[in-house]
């Protein structure tokens, strides 16, 4: 169980995440939604320890993660929003390096890397430098690096970015399978249809604050709206989208 208690993050005094409290449970996929700049990725980075929270507490299985950050990192897998990778390394070299940094046994890591590369369809390109990989291929490398040590907590920040239809379907099933095997999965995405299909619960963030935290079914009933898109639009989209699109078209024609 991953729990955030009154977590805030301020950059130069300006709040990016403001008093966020929610819990993600083992065995289910928790969707973490919000518009661009709402604080989703900042929350993810605070959970991973990449940036420190200004206030509040993050607990994993009841223990504050900063009590033993090293032990926490051993049990966590993370797919970041941006596919920043060491592009001068080949796919297999990068994954081997991550396995060594995670202190996995050489034989075990070699088997897992070979298996992951084969299952993700990267086996033929494993010796090519990552600089030659497409965005989708880089995303698969990130997924492999996040999963190879069989983590208990999986943080996925826009994991479908750049994936083709087939790979996206595989990933969707994989996320469900991992949750079914008792993992805690926190999943951030703008693809509301996918979120609606695989998430048990959603947390919706707006301007750094939580505006909804419930199961999708409860939210539908509560707000009397049939789709997650409708719920999200009402809670986290302030703009009149049609009017804005008209104004953009007018602006470029002027």
């Amino acid at each position: 169980m991953l729990a955030l208690r009154h977590v805030s993050k301020r950059f130069s005094g300006i709040p990016a995440v403001d008093d966020v409290t929610f819990t993600a449970y083992a065995g289910e996929v928790t969707g973490y939604l919000g518009a661009n700049g709402s604080g989703k990725s900042t929350t993810m980075k605070m959970i991973t320890g990449l940036i420190a929270a200004s206030s509040g507490e993050i607990l994993f299985e009841g223990q504050p993660i900063h009590d033993d950050l090293i032990a926490f990192k051993q049990r966590m897998g993370y797919v970041p929003e941006e596919p920043h990778l060491y592009t001068h390394l080949s796919g297999v070299e990068y994954l081997m390096m991550v396995a060594q940094l995670r202190n996995l046994a050489p034989r075990q890591s070699a088997e897992r890397i070979a298996g992951l590369l084969r299952l993700f369809g990267l086996h033929d390109d494993r010796y090519a430098p990552i600089s030659a990989y497409s965005k989708g291929m880089r995303q698969k490398i990130l997924l492999s690096a996040a999963l190879m040590h069989n983590p208990d907590l999986i943080l996925l920040d826009e994991p479908f970015s750049g994936l083709d239809v087939g790979s996206a379907l595989v990933l969707r099933s994989l996320i469900e399978e991992l949750a079914a095997r008792g993992k805690v999965v926190l999943f951030s995405s703008h693809e509301l249809e996918t979120v609606e299909r695989i998430c048990s619960r959603v947390v919706i963030l707006h301007h750094g604050r939580i505006v909804a935290d419930d199961s999708i079914a409860s939210l539908r009933t509560l707000m009397a709206l049939p789709t997650l898109e409708g719920i999200f639009s009402q809670l986290a989209v302030e703009q009149d989208t049609v009017a804005i699109s008209r104004r953009i078209a007018d602006l470029i024609q002027a």
Partner: protein, 569 residues
Amino acid sequence: MTKLQFRVLCRVFLLRVVDLELLADHGDSVRLLGQFAALLAAISFLFTAPLILVGGRLPEETIWTMEHLLIATTMVVVGLFSVLSWDSTFPDRRDVLVLAPLPIPPRMLFVAKLTALAAALGLSILALNVFTGLIWPLFFFPATNGVLASMRSLAAYWMTMLAASAFIFCFVLCVQWLTAQFLPRQVFLRLSAFLQVALFCLFLCVYFLEPSLETIGALSTSENQRLLVWLPSYWFLGLFQRLNGSMQPAFAPLATRAWTGLAMATIGAVGAYLLSYLRTLRKIAEQPDILPGSGRRNWAPSFGGSLRTAIVLFSLRTLLRSRQHRVILSFYLGVGFAVVLACVRPGLGHRESSHGTATADASLPLLIASILMMSIAVLGVRIVFSMPIALGANWTFRITEIYRVPAYLSATGCSLFLLALCPVWAVFAALFLFIWPRGQAIGHLVILAALGMILIDLSLLRFRKIPFTCSYLPGKGNVQFVFWACILVVLPLTTLFAKFELQALHSPSRYAVVIVILAIAEILVRSRSVVFARSVKALSFEEVTPAEILGLELHGDGGAPLERVLNRP
């Protein structure tokens, strides 16, 4: 519109001479460039200081020697600049991908690149000659002549420097453009790093090893004519003399050769450019930058422990595959090599024969050379470790930080050991075991290894980073301070130590004393570095740590600076 586009492109390309992505959050590329300019100006002052102190008229041959030295120095600096800016000559892949969709003619991209390079080059020449170019020309004409002659000397000096610089710059461009034109792009990318290093060594070796021929006799004799064909710095000495009004016939063929060389290099560079710019641009856009070393096998030896293996292999692969890091390392090794050559060249002519030993015995110049090269290799690799590769990707290390800090620092030390100490030690081991008696060779190699270990521990005393993963902040390293410290402190100390070691190699008791002293020094330095490693709470991935207290940075009128408002996350 076109003029505005051109100005914007020139400004962007000029600032891109430094790779902005490796700088820390508050890093300032202008400051870094300013530091290099100050270093060049300091060299200019160094060449002028003796004249200011001594004053008066100088003998003609001394003046010619000085003229040649200043021309050769300008040429070598421009040569090194051209090699260092090799990757900035053409628009790179990022430039093409960002700028090609915009309505900018490809010709403008190339011309803007060239203009930015020429501006940077001009500033370098100006900085290097800021003192010498104003004071020395006043001594380069006969004292009996008046103000007009001094003006002519001044004009001749600057014209010669510009011509010599243009010759070297165009020569390097010719080499680069011709290889880019006739080789497949991937082969060119792989080969260009080696070409850079080769040109680097060529310029330094010519500068330090070319003979002194600054007399009429030496310039006129038929034996030297074949040599002079290959020494462009003497061509431009002849050019300067002719422009300055010298009627000595010995300078005429040299000046002709200078004009011919300049014309050929310029025509070659312009011609190659005109032929290739469109083709090269298309190649850059169409063919990805395939980096070297992407073979079909996964070479993954173990270096003891998975963390150590990961960091050593990462460092090794980065140094082997990143052209930028390799060139920076080549720069330091090249400068070190030049210093070594300058130091040992006088001594190599006549072997030491002190202590009644045979000529094949260990010699002082080679002892100094090996110790200096070891120091420079350790320092160079340590500096290159501070410069990141793909800074945004360092989350990989941060997210997998499951060991205590000392384990990472130990792995970093191991990387420095393997990448700096081992290659230099192996080269000198092969040399000394071949030319010296085995006992003396082994004796010195033990000392060299011990010195290398001490230097590694010293250089990592305040280093709390994984190589190539932390942002870079210009000015923190204080390049000038390190440079002058090395010249003024390390050199005399090395000479003193080498003299003592030379005696120790012939006396077992003295040798034992040296070994004991080195062992004690290593224990002390190592214990300090262990204490430091234990005291470090976290590895550093950003050179500028967030401030404990938030500064409001208000303007005098109480308003917030515009950039702060705009840069809100």
